[in-house]
C-alpha cells in the first residue's frame, strides 16, 4: 500500500502557478497568433487578395488552442457554462467571440468575400484582445496583472500574425511586402517588452517571475525582435521573400516562447506579505515583509 506523503513546499513566497500548463499556454500561443493572422489577412483581403488559406490557418490555430484548453479544464463536458458570465469575465468574452469568429471565418472561407474576411479579422483581434484581458484580470499573478502586460500580449499576437504572413511568403511570394508590417510590429513589440520589463523591475514583482523573464530578455530583444526587424527591412530592400519568411519565423517563435514563459515560467503567484509584524506581549512590531519579491518591492512594503 502506498501512502502519498506530501513534501514541504515553500508556500509563502510566490511560486509558479501550477494549474495552467502547456495546454493553457497553447491557447495564448496559438490563439494569439491566430487572431493576429486573421486580422492581417483581413487587411490583405481588403486589397483583394485571396487569403482563404491564411484564414484557414488562423482558424485552425485558434481551434487548436481552444481544444488544448478543453483538455485542461476539470469538467470538459460542462464547457458550455463558459458563456454564462459575459458581464465581467473576459474568459466568457473570449469564448463568446470564438463562435462568431468561426461562423464568420467559415463564411469567409466559403464565400471568399472581403466582408466576412474583414469581420473575421476584427473578431480575431477581439479574440486576441480578450486573451490579453484574461491575463490582466488575473490579480493573483503579478506578472500578468501589470498594466503593461496587456499591450505586450496584444503586440506579440499581432507580430506573430504578421510573422506568419511573412512565413507564408515562402509559398506565396507575393506576400513578401508584408515585411514592412513585420518590421514595424517587431519594433512595437520590442518597445512593449522593454517597457513591461522596466516597469516590473520598478514596481516590483516576484523575484522568480523577473528571473524567468530576464532569462529570455536578450534572446527576445535581439533574436525575437531586432534581428527579425532588420531581416524584414533587408527583405524589403532586397525584395527577398526568403528573408521575410526567416524574419517572420523568428518573430513567431520568439512570441510563442515569450507567451510560454509568461504562462508557464513567469506566472508567479502573489505570495504573502505582512505590512506589520505582530506585537508579542511587550515586544515591538517589526518591519513588514514580502518574501520572494525583488528588492524594490521589499523596500516598498517596508
Amino acid at each position: 500500500m502506498s501512502t502519498q506523503l506530501p513534501q514541504s513546499p515553500d508556500r509563502i513566497s510566490p511560486r509558479q502557478q501550477g494549474n495552467w500548463d502547456w495546454r493553457a499556454a497553447s491557447n495564448f500561443i496559438a490563439g494569439g497568433s491566430g487572431g493576429g493572422l486573421l486580422l492581417w489577412s483581413a487587411l490583405i483581403a481588403l486589397q483583394g487578395g485571396d487569403v482563404r488559406l491564411l484564414q484557414a490557418a488562423g482558424l485552425a490555430l485558434i481551434a487548436a488552442g481552444l481544444t488544448c484548453v478543453w483538455f485542461e479544464i476539470g469538467r470538459p463536458w460542462r464547457a458550455l457554462n463558459t458563456f454564462r458570465h459575459f458581464g465581467s469575465s473576459w474568459m466568457t468574452r473570449e469564448a463568446s467571440v470564438a463562435p462568431l469568429l468561426f461562423a464568420s471565418g467559415l463564411l469567409a472561407l466559403w464565400s471568399g468575400e472581403a466582408l466576412p474576411a474583414i469581420t473575421t479579422g476584427v473578431l480575431g483581434l477581439a479574440f486576441l484582445y480578450a486573451q490579453a484581458r484574461i491575463l490582466a484580470a488575473d490579480k493573483g499573478i503579478p506578472a500578468w496583472r501589470h498594466p503593461r502586460c496587456r499591450p505586450l500580449v496584444v503586440a506579440t499576437g499581432l507580430t506573430e500574425g504578421a510573422g506568419l504572413l511573412a512565413c507564408a511568403s515562402v509559398v506565396a511570394p507575393a506576400l513578401w511586402p508584408v515585411a514592412w508590417l513585420l518590421a514595424l510590429l517587431a519594433g512595437v513589440r520590442l518597445l512593449a517588452w522593454q517597457r513591461y520589463l522596466a516597469a516590473l523591475n520598478q514596481d516590483g514583482a516576484p523575484a522568480g517571475a523577473l528571473k524567468a523573464l530576464h532569462r529570455i530578455d536578450a534572446e527576445f530583444r535581439w533574436g525575437g525582435n531586432a534581428v527579425p526587424a532588420v531581416l524584414a527591412l533587408l527583405a524589403l530592400a532586397t525584395a527577398t521573400p526568403l528573408l521575410a519568411a526567416a524574419a517572420g519565423a523568428l518573430a513567431v517563435i520568439a512570441g510563442w516562447r515569450c507567451k510560454y514563459t509568461l504562462v508557464c515560467r513567469a506566472a508567479y503567484t502573489q505570495g504573502f506579505a505582512l505590512p506589520k509584524l505582530p506585537v508579542r506581549g511587550r515586544g515591538k512590531s517589526g518591519a513588514g515583509v514580502k518574501p520572494g519579491w525583488n528588492d524594490i518591492s521589499r523596500r516598498v512594503a517596508a
Partner: protein, 918 residues
C-alpha cells in the same frame, strides 16, 4: 455528499500528551467517526475552553488507519532483530490470552523476583504517564500481580524534564513547574517551548497574557514557536543556561541587594536565615539538633522554631555553642563559631558569577543579562498584593521557566536551583503570579499538592528520600535502573518513583556493567509488556537499544501498528484505541504542564465507535488476563480499592464494589467507577452512572484558585522552603558516597559531585566534548551542537504514522529535516532541501537541510523523534533523528540519573547513493 442518517456528537477526551486532558467531541455519522470537534459544553470548566490541539484531529485517521493491527498476532520467526522478518501470523484472542496467562502462571510458580532479586515481569509505558489514561483497568492487574520493573524506559528520565520533576517536587511539591500565567507579567523562558508543548490550556493562557501585555523573554539556541511568540529572543549557547541564571541571581543579590528583595519571604518562608558553619553544614542547637538562626531581637542564635524570633537574613554571627550533623549522623560540636546565614552564603557564592563572566560562557551580552535581571526584579512588584476569593496574597508576577534539555541532564540541577532561587528572592515561589508547581508524582496524594505537605525535619516539609544510611541502603537493587540505590531524592513513596529512576541504566547494564560493579548481575525480564511505547525510536543509541530488546526472552506488545520495538515482540495484542474504548479519569486537582484548573472532577473517554477489526477494549483484555492467570480476585479487589478508577468503589455512605469472585464486564466496572466518582466528588449529593456520563461526558465541581499556590499552606504549617542552601543534599550525597565506596564502587563518583549545597558552574558543555574524546574521536571533527525540539503535531501519541499530521506539520518550519543556520549552510555549500548527513561519534542520521535564520550558527536542530524503519508511513518519511546518534553513557548521566538531548556532530552534504552505501 450524501446525507448521513444518524449523527451523534460523542463527548470524550484527548490525553495523548502530558498537556492533557482536553475535552472534545467526536462526530459519528452512521456509526463512522468523521470529525473531532471542541466540546463547548465544557467551555466554562476546562481551562482551554473545551478545545483540543491539532493532534486530536488526527484521531479519526488513527482509528481507521489501514495499517492497524486488527487481530492478535504471534511471532513465527524465533530469531529477533531489525533485519529479521518477525513472521507475525493472526491468532485468536483465546490463544493469545492463554499464551500470556501461561507465561504469568509460570513466572508466579517460579517466583516474582529472579535470582538478582529483580522483578521477572517488566512493563514499559510511554510518554509521561499518559498511557495510564488509555489502559483501562490494567493498573489493577499490575497491582494485583506484585513487583514489576518499570525500569526499561522509553525516554522518561532523559526525555522528560527530569531534574525539574525531582528537585521541583523536593522544594515545592512541583513535579512540573510553571509560571502562574494568568497573573504573569514577566517570564524568562529558558528553553521552555510551552506554545508547542503546553497544550491548548497553556497556549490560550500565554496568548491572553501577550494581549494583556506581559513580557516573555525566550532564552534558547534556536527560535522555536515559543521564541517566536515572545517579546525577545536570546540565542544562548547550548547548555550554558546555568551560567546565565547564576548571573541573574548575581545582579539581584550583589547589585541590588536584600533591601530590594522580598525580605519577609526570605526570612519567614525560606531557610535563608539558617546559620551555616565552617564545615558547610547547618549550625544546630547542640541539644535539640535544630538548625540555628540569628535572632535580631535577642541578639543571639536560637533554634529556628523559637517563638517570637526576628531572624537575620544576611550576615555572619558568632555562635557560642553549636553542633553540626554530617553524613551518617557524624556530629561535630562547636564553641564560639562563626555562622553565616544561608543567604550570606549564597551572596558570597554568587559574587563571582557576574554578567560579564556569564557573557564569556553563554555568548549573551552582559548588558542583556543585566537588563533582563532588572526587568524581572521590577516586574516582581515586591510588596504588591492580590485578593483571591477574599484572601489577600502577595502578587509576584514573574517566573523563570525551564525547558527540556535545560532541566534534565548535567547542568539541570544548577538550572532548577537557580530558577527556584530567583523565585525565592522576590517572593514569587508558590505565590500568585509567580512560579508554581502543578502536580505531585513522587508524593501522595497525586491529586492534591497541599495534602502532601506535612512537617518534616528542620522546619521543612517532609521528604521521603531513599535511605542512604548503612542499615537501609539498598545494596541489591530492587529494580534494574537502581533507582533506590543511586538516587535518594527520587524516593520510593509513590508509584512514580521507580519510573523516574535512571532508566538508561536499565538498558545499559543489561549489556555491560561498569568496572567495580559490586551488586548482583541483572537478568533480562522473563516477560516484557510494552504499551504506547517505542523505546527503539524514542530513547538514545536506538540501534543498540533495539538489539538489546531483541534479546529479551518474551515480549508482549499492545500494538497499534507494528513499530520498531514491537518488531521484536512475540505477541501483538490489538487494543481498542482512543475513540473505541472506555475509561474515566480525573480532571483538575493537579495536572502537568499549566493545567491548573478552576474545577475538579472526572471526564469519561467512551467508545464513540465500534473497535476496528478484532481490537478489544483494554478493560476486557485485562479482565480476561486476570481470570486466565488466576488473579481475578486480587484484581477485582484492586478495582474496589480504586486502582484504575478515581475513587474507591466503596466508601463512607456508598458501596458500588464489585464481587471479587465474578468476572466483571467492562461496562459494569466503569458504571461502578462513575458512581463512586460522582458520589465522592459531589460529597454525596449526586450518584451518576455510566449512561449519564456517556451523554454528558464529565462532571466537575468548582476548585478554589487558592489551591494553585502552596505558600499559604506552608505558612499555615509554619514551614520553610528548603532554599537557597542545600544542606540536606550535601549530606545525602556524602552518605551515598560512603555507601558506594564501602562497596568499592567508584563509577558513580562524577555523579556524586552534583551534591553541593550551592551549585558551582562546571563547564557543562565540555562534558559532551570529553565524552566523544574518551570514545576516541577528535572534538574538532564534530564542530556543531545537535539539539531536538518538539512538534505539537507529532509530540507523543504515536502520530508519526498519521498522514494528516504529516500534512499539516509541513506548514511549520523545520519539519522537513535538519534545521540549520542559513549562513552556516552556505559556508558548507548546503542549500535548502539538500540531503545532508549529521554524524556523531557513534553514527549518522540523514535528512534534508531546512535553512533558517532563527538558529545559532553553531547549532543544528532536528524536530521530534523519527528515523523509523518499521512503523508504516513513518518509515517512508525519511526523517532524521537525534536519537539514532546520541550515545547512552554513564558519563552523560547526572546524579538524578538523567541525561539531555544534545550531541556534538559534524554535518555534510551527501547524495542519495551515499546514504544507500551507509
Amino acid at each position: 455528499m450524501s446525507q448521513a442518517k444518524t449523527v451523534k456528537h460523542v463527548p470524550t477526551f484527548c490525553y495523548n500528551c502530558v498537556s492533557g486532558p482536553d475535552f472534545m467531541k467526536v462526530k459519528v455519522e452512521d456509526g463512522v467517526a468523521t470529525e473531532v470537534e471542541p466540546n463547548f459544553d465544557a467551555e466554562d470548566v476546562h481551562p482551554a475552553r473545551g478545545r483540543v490541539c491539532v493532534k486530536a484531529y488526527g484521531l479519526v485517521q488513527k482509528t481507521y488507519n489501514p495499517n492497524r493491527i486488527r487481530t492478535p498476532m504471534k511471532r513465527t520467526n524465533p530469531k529477533k532483530g531489525r533485519d529479521e522478518d518477525p513472521g507475525f501470523v493472526p491468532i485468536s484472542w483465546d490463544e493469545a490470552l492463554d499464551l500470556v496467562a501461561a507465561k504469568l502462571k509460570d513466572i508466579r510458580a517460579r517466583g516474582l523476583r529472579d535470582a538478582a532479586g529483580q522483578p521477572r515481569v517488566a512493563v514499559s509505558l510511554g510518554h509521561g504517564g499518559t498511557p495510564a489514561n488509555y489502559l483501562g483497568t490494567f493498573p489493577a492487574l499490575l497491582s494485583a500481580w506484585g513487583p514489576i520493573d518499570y525500569s526499561f524506559g522509553s525516554g522518561q528520565g532523559v526525555k522528560c524534564v527530569h531534574s525539574e520533576h525531582l528537585y521541583g517536587e523536593f522544594w515545592h511539591r512541583g513535579f512540573t513547574v510553571a509560571g502562574d500565567t494568568p497573573n504573569a507579567r514577566y517570564v524568562i523562558a529558558v528553553g521552555a517551548n510551552v506554545d508547542v508543548t503546553g497544550g491548548p490550556c497553556a497556549v490560550l493562557r500565554h496568548a491572553d497574557a501577550r494581549v494583556r501585555g506581559y513580557k516573555r523573554v525566550q532564552v534558547e539556541p534556536h527560535l522555536t514557536v515559543t521564541g517566536a511568540c515572545s517579546a525577545e529572543w536570546v540565542p544562548i549557547r547550548p547548555k550554558t543556561d546555568p551560567a546565565f541564571l547564576f548571573a541573574l541571581i548575581h545582579v539581584l543579590v550583589r547589585e541590588h541587594g536584600l533591601a530590594q528583595l522580598d525580605l519577609p519571604f526570605l526570612r519567614d518562608r525560606t531557610a535563608s536565615p539558617y546559620l551555616v558553619g565552617p564545615d558547610g553544614l547547618y549550625l544546630r542547637d547542640a541539644d535539640s539538633d535544630k538548625p540555628l538562626l540569628w535572632d535580631e531581637a535577642s541578639g543571639k542564635a536560637v533554634a529556628h522554631d523559637t517563638p517570637g524570633v526576628v531572624p537575620a537574613v544576611a550576615g555572619r554571627y558568632r555562635v557560642a555553642r553549636a553542633a553540626s550533623v554530617d553524613a551518617d549522623q557524624a556530629r561535630r560540636e562547636y564553641a564560639d563559631v562563626e555562622g553565616a546565614t544561608a543567604y550570606e552564603m549564597l551572596s558570597a557564592h554568587i559574587a563571582k558569577y557576574t554578567p560579564e563572566w556569564a557573557e564569556t560562557i553563554c555568548d549573551v551580552p552582559a548588558a542583556t543579562i543585566r537588563r533582563i535581571a532588572e526587568e524581572y526584579l521590577e516586574a516582581a512588584s515586591i510588596g504588591a498584593t492580590i485578593e483571591i476569593e477574599g484572601q489577600t496574597l502577595p502578587l509576584r508576577p514573574v517566573a523563570v521557566t525551564l525547558g527540556k534539555s535545560v532541566n534534565n541532564g548535567w547542568g539541570a540541577y544548577e538550572c532548577c536551583w537557580a530558577r527556584t532561587v530567583l523565585a525565592v528572592l522576590v517572593g514569587a515561589l508558590e505565590n500568585p503570579g509567580g512560579l508554581v508547581g502543578t502536580t505531585v508524582r513522587l508524593n501522595r496524594p497525586q491529586d492534591n499538592r497541599h495534602l502532601s505537605v506535612k512537617p518534616g525535619e528542620d522546619g521543612f516539609m517532609v521528604q521521603y528520600f531513599n535511605p542512604t544510611d548503612k542499615e537501609h541502603w539498598q545494596t541489591e537493587p530492587a529494580t534494574r535502573n537502581l533507582h533506590q540505590t543511586l538516587v535518594p531524592i527520587v524516593g520510593h513513596n509513590a508509584a512514580w518513583s521507580q519510573a523516574l529512576g535512571p532508566t538508561q541504566l536499565a538498558w545499559m547494564f543489561q549489556n555491560e556493567r561498569p568496572a567495580g560493579w559490586d551488586m548482583p548481575t541483572p537478568n533480562f525480564p522473563d516477560l516484557w509488556i510494552v504499551y504506547r511505547s517505542n523505546p527503539a525510536i524514542s530513547f538514545w543509541d536506538t540501534k543498540n537499544l533495539a538489539a538489546t530488546a531483541a534479546r529479551f526472552p518474551y515480549m508482549v506488545a499492545f500494538a497499534y501498528t507494528v513499530d520498531e520495538t514491537s518488531h521484536m515482540a512475540d505477541l501483538l495484542l490489538p487494543e481498542a484505541t482512543d475513540l473505541e474504548s472506555t475509561q474515566m479519569i480525573r480532571i483538575g486537582g493537579t495536572k502537568y504542564m499549566e493545567q491548573f484548573w478552576d474545577h475538579k472532577g472526572v471526564v469519561l473517554r467512551q467508545s464513540a465507535v465500534e473497535p476496528q477489526g478484532d481490537a478489544r477494549d483494554f478493560t476486557w483484555i485485562t479482565t480476561e488476563l486476570a481470570k486466565r492467570s488466576g488473579l481475578l480476585t486480587p484484581y477485582v479487589e484492586a478495582l474496589n480499592r480504586g486502582v484504575s478508577g478515581v475513587a474507591p468503589l466503596k466508601g463512607e455512605g456508598y458501596d458500588f464494589s464489585l464481587d471479587p469472585t465474578q468476572e466483571p464486564v467492562p461496562e459494569k466496572v466503569w458504571d461502578a467507577v462513575c458512581r463512586a466518582a460522582s458520589v465522592t466528588i459531589s460529597e454525596g449529593r449526586e450518584e451518576l452512572g455510566l449512561d449519564w456520563f456517556k451523554e454528558h461526558g464529565f462532571y466537575a465541581v468548582p476548585m478554589s484558585r487558592l489551591e494553585w499556590y502552596l505558600t499559604p499552606t506552608m505558612e499555615r504549617q509554619g514551614l520553610r522552603y528548603e532554599l537557597p542552601y542545600q544542606e540536606r543534599l550535601l549530606r545525602v550525597g556524602r552518605e551515598l558516597g560512603n555507601r558506594l565506596h564501602e562497596h568499592k564502587m567508584n563509577w558513580w563518583d562524577e555523579q556524586l559531585s552534583e551534591y553541593t549545597a550551592l551549585p558551582e558552574w562546571h563547564d557543562v558543555p565540555a562534558r559532551w566534548v570529553r565524552n566523544l574524546e574518551k570514545a576516541g574521536a577528535t572534538a574538532a571533527d564534530f564542530p556543531f551542537w545537535l539539539l531536538t525540539t518538539k512538534s505539537m503535531q507529532y509530540h507523543a501519541g504515536g502520530n508519526a504514522g498519521i498522514a494528516l499530521m504529516r500534512e499539516v506539520a509541513l506548514n511549520v518550519r523545520g519539519h522537513t529535516g535538519v534545521i540549520m543556520n542559513a549562513k552556516t549552510a552556505a559556508g558548507l555549500g548546503i542549500r535548502e532541501g539538500d540531503r545532508i548527513e549529521v554524524r556523531s561519534h557513534i553514527g549518522a542520521t540523514y535528512g534534508k537541510a531546512a535553512l533558517v535564520q532563527g538558529i545559532r550558527p553553531d547549532t543544528l536542530v532536528i524536530i521530534g523523534q523519527f528515523d523509523h524503519w518499521a512503523t508504516p508511513v513513518a518509515k517512508d518519511l525519511d526523517l532524521p533523528s537525534l536519537n539514532t546518534i546520541a550515545p547512552m553513557t554513564l558519563d552523560l548521566t547526572d546524579a538524578t540519573g538523567s541525561g539531555a538531548d544534545i550531541v556534538r556532530v559534524a554535518v555534510r552534504r551527501v547524495d542519495a547513493e551515499a546514504k544507500a552505501a551507509a
